[in-house]
Symmetry: C2
Subunit: 225 residues, 2 copies
Amino acid sequence: MARGRAATTAAIRLDVVDRPEAISAVSDATAAIGGRIRTLATVRPIDGEPRLVEIELEVEGVSEEALVAGLRDLADVRTIHLTKALGTVFGKRIIVVGGGAQVAQVALGAVSEADRHNLRGELISVDTIPLVGEEQIAAAVRAVADLPRARLLVLAGSIMGGDISRAADELRAVGIPIIALNMVGSITDHVDLVVSDPVQAGTMAVMAVADTATFDLDRQRGRRY
Amino acid sequence: MARGRAATTAAIRLDVVDRPEAISAVSDATAAIGGRIRTLATVRPIDGEPRLVEIELEVEGVSEEALVAGLRDLADVRTIHLTKALGTVFGKRIIVVGGGAQVAQVALGAVSEADRHNLRGELISVDTIPLVGEEQIAAAVRAVADLPRARLLVLAGSIMGGDISRAADELRAVGIPIIALNMVGSITDHVDLVVSDPVQAGTMAVMAVADTATFDLDRQRGRRY
């Protein structure tokens, strides 16, 4: 979600009975106190009778106290713990997808650069997955649009094109920029910036999303380094 | 969620009017067709009148067709796209937290090892954040319990203890194991395994969660390498 709104987000983790009506009751009760559910994530099942699931819930527009008071008496709700909204802990996310060798080097640059910015009050994570094959990589590119707090994708490989390039266009259309390594294939015509060195690509990726950096991706669009 | 259930999960991304009642209507309609909401994540706001939010929704127990049919006529729901459940794209997550230099080296080992397993049908992500300070690191350790699909934490630093060790005990109590680098502080007495070399620590972390590896963390518990 947009910057600066995290402070008004109440976050709890609760155990609920694993049936469709339980989530429905939780969201009705949340709406009744004027809360907007931003995140509802099932983190793990708890075996037993009845079977429970543990859920992380982030709600905007209400205090933690009001949220706990609004939910604790529901029949399907068991234990409630206070927790922190994930955005206040893990911040903005750079996603790195591609071949293992290149992903590892991009991560090296990005983690080192994120360290420098996080020391000055930023909060930037570097999330990676090594994958092979056009279909799998294209699916990952499209799925970045579904990841909360994803701010930029780095494509780190030696050859990418075809459906990956189509997926790149779709991702940029929802507002998530892409940096690609200099590589074989059409992908380099479907990204915001092409960088030959993977450590530099990771570094620039972090600079592009950090408020503590003076690096404007808009002014670099279409360039190759 | 547990392995093998992802195949029955319908995933869509939809635009809804940004008001408390909208989520309530979506979850009521989902429960009415027998679906259990596993993930509801607000991925971005869409400015306009009315203001919309884009939401990623994963539902167990119903088909994508039934889910779309059940939601498309709700007053607050606009565009619906089909998408893929995040677990089927990004899989299990190794989380790496600590100092930039060490996190980068653990990531190098973990990404390289994940690459080898993902080539054989596994799906393992390596998610990292460089952080400084007892309070921030302890908060991150606790927040790993709130991350969907987090399977193992690697603590990569030079000195950790105090509240970080308490947070480590809490995280292990919910079933998420921890590997720590060999470092100063009490943390090494509060983790499952201590490994001196960061590349090796990242490699072992991936082996510990990969079904394609013969590495049993239970048999290594308490050891130091």
